[in-house]
Amino acid sequence: MPVVEVENLTKRYGQIVGIDGVTFSVEKGEVVGLLGPNGAGKSTTMRILTCFMPATSGDARVAGFDVFSQSLEVRKRVGYLPESVPLYPEMRVIEYLNYRATLKGLGRKERRIRIPEALERTHIKEVATRITGQLSKGYRQRVGLADALLHNPEVLIFDEPTVGLDPNQIRETRGLIRGLGQDHTVILSTHILPEVEATCSRVLIMNAGVLVPQEVIDRYLRRSGLRLVLKGEVVAIQKALNSLDGVRRVNLLSKDPLVVMELEIAEGTDLREAAFNRVVGAGGKILEMRPVALSLEEAFARITATDTAAGGKEAA
């Protein structure tokens, strides 16, 4: 049974559509990246999943409990890091975590074990007695993470967990999230693509309030090509390759000093041998040949660009 199930979730803010008919499910132990440009509806989806606000229509269940009618049960099982990482500025880190742990129903004994554990895991032991209002962004972020981990929840929901961190902290945080994926289910949102590739086992792309279907993402990701580096008569080789069955387009990337071409080819076909023969037949010499796949970044750029061009909905 999936740990998180979202069905036809819609949220409207008055006239403005936040998210529209979002459906997805997340299995236990998955680390899912919710990807999308700003305003795509990522935070809205997360706020509904964490019971912060109800959806206009549709269903969302976490660990089998409905986020609306069984909100308390869901909240017991979810650790949430909001985008802005709100903390009480006058409290010390340790006081804050103690307060949060009590709110989450941990008894004195559990708190004594869980709080040092969370401090350790997020590497904030050294700031435990500092006042949260004086912490840097990176530390604040990690205090928020520690808070989310306190009650050892089944599901962790992180809204842009690495925003504002320096490269070292980003690497640490990603490592932490990957580690959490071993015994938790994680949903994280981001608009930074390498983050998804670095941490997630699966990606969901949102754009203008709707979820881009998995087939579309796969289609983009599977769209493949062949890159050739060669010597010879450019026009003749181009012509020879163009007439090859299965080649959609030949892009000339550079002529000097070496000719670099990229073939866009139909998915699932292997044209390496045929292309070799054609080039040789046209009097060319191949120096290098390798298949290229569309990176997630390119796929994302194309998906979000086409949808916007097609008149995507206003998103909050």
Binding site: Y13, C51, V78, Y80, P82, Y88, R100, T102, L103, G144
Partner: protein, 248 residues
Amino acid sequence: MFKTAAVCKRETLAYFYSPIFYVASTFITFMIGITIHSFIKGRGGFPADAGYITEMGGMLLLFITPILTMRLFSEEFKQGTVETLMTAPVTDWQVVLGKYFAAVVVISAMFIPALIHVVVMYAISTGASRPDTTKTIISLVVLVIWGGFYAALGLLASALTRDQVVAAVLGLAVNFGFLIIHWVLGETDFVKNHESLTKAVDYVNIYSHLEPALKGIIDTRDIIFFLGSIIFLLFVTVRVVESRKWKG
């Protein structure tokens, strides 16, 4: 229970970290000192009476309570901490009660330095001029209840807006409303000429529910009035907090 206590503790400590508590407490102690001095002189000397503390204290609370309570919810909305608070497994009642009790604790604590006046009253008087101890205790309890009533109003005002200043002004306006009922409405000829109106005004006039207690008379109707009002205000606050989630 533990969660309510945790919220209460956090809010109480937050007050103790801010200067407003100390400023207000000092001001109260000073003002009550002056009041007792002039009352004793003006009303013909001893027996001194802790009721003086309650009378002046209640008047000061009218101004001070909205300023104390304004941050309780508004600040959570403004800082965004409401997002972590409301996604923790706590009920709205636990949050509202925790914050309310914190306000009552802080209001009571503000008067602790002013108790020096009670000590002085006992110390400098002898025999028949000594304050009546039962009456003293009742007066102090009345003061806490009075503050508790204002605190419930202020908490509701705070839940209505993310702007602390608006919350304070709203609370002040309502508190003044009660003062107007007491000073103006009850004294108009129109109200005085209609017995049913007099009764109605008298019922919503919080001061008429306080006066018997200040004379040392405990009337269950007054207790019910205050407890009922406080519970009702807290109930409305819970609904308001709930509705914020609906509006997103």
